[in-house]
């Protein structure tokens, strides 16, 4: 249907772009038809012939006929529409940014839409049920706006936009989990939406979505020229008398619109938008128009296929498998496989944080910082809320025995993550690199979820730290394996992180979609809590963090050289590969240790090194020490806030730290761009 429209809409298409597509299009359309029929066979009990007759039998009140017409058929049409919209939206985004890692999922629009809808559901449930698209669109636009602001013009084509998008995902995810945890029962039904499900009961959503996707036809009709010009580079385009920015902005908004309405209609379905354009290129789509059109069709094929699998799986097991989870389960490994050759170390575009301040930390500064640290530590230990209001005194022995393990854990985690952050940022020469981005925490969490699933226990009791540790080490193994082929290129490492986090998200959404009390236990753990840590674990973590931190201090010279450039490091006779592996292993160990004891904490490893740099710790050694101190203090404060904020309930320290640091981080970046 879309094909005929668009071919009529762009008569100026050069002939050369048709030839390679001659065989590709009929084949893909045939595949689309086949998967469509197969999907209908799976989704309805009628035979093909009966289905054909049912299409024209408007008077029938037979339930199976109606089930086919009002449930199975709209589901297929919905899959077709949403798949096409996501494919087109992804292709448009990737061509606009000239970045093959960009998609609604990776630049934060999906999580922005999700948070928008969560907020709307909690504030005005009836309104959200009726007009969910507006809060979703608003959320998506705000999130992407900030991401673009962070990445800046130069960063759009490279890794920065993806890293900024991931940071945004982490922050919005933390805020959404916090809201959901606070609102327990009310939020249950959101989980299924979060997992993305295509089940339909009538044509309502199709009718709702169809006119809103008309934008897609306009894109197909008019986007070809600006996108082709864009390939020449924006200077080249301007030379031809075209100012690209207004056009790009409109196209960008159109792409966001497609994503937002799709998400409102069916929930979060990741990966289709990311994978489809990449596959389209792999199958030979070359020109701008070819890529847009082919991605549209291919997106439909992909989503229908995964949804058919989801329906099949739901019939085999008694549980409902959400379509979005199925898409991500297939998409994450596929993405890794697709991009395995294409990343290289030179994918480094300029992105700086306000760290180049002409200031060096003085001995007096050290004294001040250390005494402030002690004062804050003491205050977080002694100031607390009780049944009788606020109290400022040294805790009783019993309360002390309950309080010190969590406080020590928080401080040690902050210490460790900050050191890991410094090493990683210097190693990858990327100020946005952070331990969470390598996917180490995601790996640990995945392993934990799996072990809970296999043993049938809750996430708190199943295997615990051991499973988490195994998960992190497995990710490290994958990183080293992939990394060796690419000289440990930052882009590759980030890609593994993205894939793992998306995979984690899919499995997580699937586990959460059940909406039972166990879902909340999982969310509680994912929030990064020091609550359950025993005295032994706390001491163990502290010792481990200090030892690993001590070892990494030994490599400060190598780290200084690498952070200047590979050339300088090589020139000084450094074995670059070996030192990269060593440092990477140290970082992974640190993350595995912290995550296995207290769950994931985002942003801290990103932010602590920056604050250290702002305070004037420019060389590696002082930066390591100062960042570690700051990391501990930040975590102490977060733990304290978590204990007193919603007393007698408690907020997990991980969420508090992620939100506090994340917001500060965004403000920092935005301020720098605006300045």
């Amino acid at each position: 249907m879309q094909v005929t429209h668009t071919e009529a809409g762009s008569p100026s298409r050069p002939l050369s772009s048709i030839t390679p597509g001659l065989l590709r299009y009929p084949l893909t359309l045939l595949a689309l038809l086949l998967i469509l029929l197969a999907h209908l066979q799976i989704g309805s009990s009628l035979s093909l012939n009966q289905q054909w007759l049912a299409l024209f039998d408007f008077s029938s009140q037979d339930f199976t006929v109606l089930q086919f017409r009002d449930s199975a058929l709209p589901r297929v049409v919905m899959g077709l529409l949403v798949g096409a919209a996501l494919g087109l939206s992804g292709s448009l985004l990737q061509q606009l940014t000239q970045n093959r890692l960009v998609s609604p999922m990776t630049i934060g629009s999906a999580s922005g839409a999700w948070l928008g809808l969560v907020c709307a559901t909690l504030i005005a449930p009836t309104l959200a049920a009726e007009h969910g698209e507006w809060p979703a669109l608003l959320g998506a636009m705000a999130a992407v706006g900030i991401v673009l602001l962070i990445a800046g013009r130069a960063g759009i084509a490279g890794l920065p936009i993806v890293l900024a998008g991931m940071a945004m995902n982490l922050l919005l995810g933390a805020v959404a989990s916090g809201l959901v945890l606070l609102n327990d029962q009310y939020a249950r039904n959101l989980f299924l939406w979060g997992a993305g499900d295509l089940a339909q009961m009538d044509w309502h959503w199709v009718v709702w979505l169809l006119p809103k996707l008309a934008v897609g036809l306009l894109i197909l009709a008019f986007a070809q020229r600006p996108l082709t010009l864009l390939r020449l580079g924006s200077e080249g385009a301007q030379a031809r008398g075209m100012s690209l920015w207004p056009v790009m902005l409109v196209l960008f908004l159109a792409s966001l619109w497609l994503t937002s309405v799709s998400i409102t209609a069916v929930g979060l379905i990741g990966f289709i938008g990311l994978l489809t354009p990449n596959l389209a290129r792999l199958f030979g789509a070359r020109t701008a128009f070819d890529e847009l059109l082919y991605s549209t069709i291919l997106g439909a094929v992909l989503l229908l296929t995964t949804d058919a699998l989801a329906v099949l799986a739901s019939q085999w097991t008694i549980n409902l498998i959400p379509s979005g989870a199925a898409a991500a389960l297939i998409g994450a490994p596929a993405l890794l496989w697709l991009s395995r050759r294409k990343m290289s170390a030179e994918d480094q575009r300029g992105l700086s944080l306000p760290g180049n301040i002409e200031r060096t930390i003085t001995p007096l500064g050290w004294v001040l910082i250390l005494s402030a640290t002690l004062a804050i530590a003491l205050l977080t230990l002694c100031l607390a809320r009780s049944a009788h209001g606020w109290q400022l005194n040294w805790p009783s022995p019993l309360v002390w025995s309950l309080r010190w393990p969590r406080t020590l854990t928080a401080a040690s985690a902050g210490f460790g993550l900050a050191i890991a952050g410094v090493i990683l940022q210097r190693l990858l020469r990327n100020p946005l690199a952070s331990p969470d981005i390598l996917g180490l925490s995601a790996g640990a969490t995945l392993a934990l979820l799996m072990s809970a699933f296999v043993t049938g226990g809750t996430i708190q009791t199943a295997g615990g730290p051991l499973a988490a540790f195994a998960g992190s080490m497995l990710v490290l193994g994958v990183l080293l394996l992939f990394g060796r082929r690419h000289q440990y290129a930052p882009g590759m490492l980030a890609l593994v992180g993205i894939s793992l986090m998306a995979l984690l998200d899919a499995i997580l959404q699937f586990a959460l979609a059940k909406g039972t009390a166990d879902s909340f236990a999982i969310m509680g753990w994912l929030a990064g809590s020091t609550y359950r840590v025993s005295a032994n674990q706390a001491v163990g973590l502290w010792m481990g963090v200090v030892i690993i931190g001590g070892i990494s201090l030994l490599f400060h010279r190598g780290l200084s050289l690498i952070s200047i450039s590979d050339g300088v490091a090589l020139g000084r006779g450094l074995n670059l590969t070996r030192i990269r592996i060593i440092l990477l292993v140290l970082v992974s160990l640190m993350c595995a240790l912290v995550t296995s004891v207290m769950g994931p904490v985002a942003f801290l490893g990103l932010l602590a090194p920056h604050i250290a740099a702002i305070l004037g710790a420019k060389k590696v050694l002082p930066q390591l020490l100062l960042a570690a101190t700051l990391g501990s203090v930040l975590m102490l404060i977060a733990d304290w806030v978590g204990r007193v904020m919603i007393y007698p309930l408690q907020m997990p320290v991980g969420i508090v730290a992620s939100v506090l640091c994340g917001v500060y981080f965004i403000i920092l970046l935005a301020k720098q761009r605006c300045a």
Partner: protein, 301 residues
């Protein structure tokens, strides 16, 4: 003589032992006879059981949410909030100085910490591999024994059984002895519903009312399974009851497919007022009450 002396000594020793044993027994008995006064319930099931026994707990985890979601039996106003059910506030518990903490296996990893505060009693809760209702019943009796309320507890259970038997008779009379098969659902979205299957409290309530499931589902931990709503079309004969609340009625009920559902066509669909479905033993009684009210609103065939 010697022998007598020996037996005397033996007797003495034995009686000494006996006395010691008695004393020990006495002290443990005295300990257990001293019924706990300051009790904290970290699960809602335990809170329900305590309140049904006439005991006001000092604090209950997520007490505020309990008042919104469980509702019956009503929690006295004075009950404090002990933090969340997943992460009870340990420091608050320490400050409250309870003499008994009622926990569940889900909180087993906290046992060390809890025991530092007060003796801990852990009661099994919802699981896939046991009968959730029978477990709740046993838990209630065990708890009653601990508080020396066994007689009252047994009486309360007997009352419940009589009450349910009365309700059962009402249903049998209403349907002239031909009981319909029943399936209970809770809507999640206009396209997906939770169906209560084996091992769910609503199904145990149905069992006690002698109602058979119209859409049998295997046992799960909480007894619920998510299903697309169109699946419900497989229920040809039975009755479908949905438990309130469902905010998106307007999006589902007018649709053609919903209207074509056999149970809608035959007017075998009714609404059950909002009732907690993951509770303790008496939640089955309240559920039976609500279910029967809904069933009586249907026309007998």
């Amino acid at each position: 003589m010697c022998l007598r002396h020996f037996t005397h000594r033996l007797n003495g020793a034995l009686s000494h032992c006996f006395v010691t044993v008695l004393m020990l027994l006495g002290s443990t008995l005295a300990y257990s006879a001293e019924t706990p006064q300051r009790v904290v319930a970290l699960t809602w099931e335990a809170a329900e059981h305590l309140v049904e026994m006439g005991i006001t707990p000092l604090a209950v985890a997520d007490a505020d949410d309990y008042k919104v979601w469980v509702v019956r039996p009503a929690l006295p106003e004075a009950v404090l909030n002990a933090g969340s059910r997943v992460e009870p506030n340990l420091e608050l518990l320490a400050e409250l100085k309870p003499d008994l903490i009622i926990s569940s296996p889900a909180l087993d990893d906290l046992r060390d910490k809890l025991e530092r505060i007060a003796p801990v009693e852990s009661f099994d809760s919802y699981r896939q591999d046991h009968n959730n209702y029978e477990t709740a019943r046993q838990n209630y009796l065990k708890l009653a024994r601990q508080f020396n309320h066994l007689d009252q507890a047994q009486q309360r259970l007997a009352e419940m059984d009589t009450h349910i038997a009365g309700l059962r008779q009402q249903v049998i009379d209403h349907f002239h002895g031909r009981l319909p098969e029943v399936t209970i659902i809770r809507f999640s979205t206009p396209a997906v519903a939770y169906v209560y299957g084996d091992n769910s409290m609503p199904q145990y309530a149905m069992d006690l009312l002698h109602l058979k499931p119209a859409y049998p589902l295997p046992a799960t931990a909480w007894g619920i399974t998510q299903k697309p709503i169109s699946e419900l079309g497989r229920i040809h004969e039975g009755v479908v009851l949905h438990i309130e609340p469902f905010s998106q009625k307007d999006k589902l009920f007018p649709t053609r497919l919903w209207q074509a559902m056999p149970f809608v066509q035959n007017h075998r669909f009714a609404t059950v007022r909002s009732t907690w479905t993951y509770g303790g033993v008496f939640s089955v009684e309240y559920l039976a009450e609500s279910l029967v009210d809904a069933l009586l609103s249907l026309q007998p065939e």
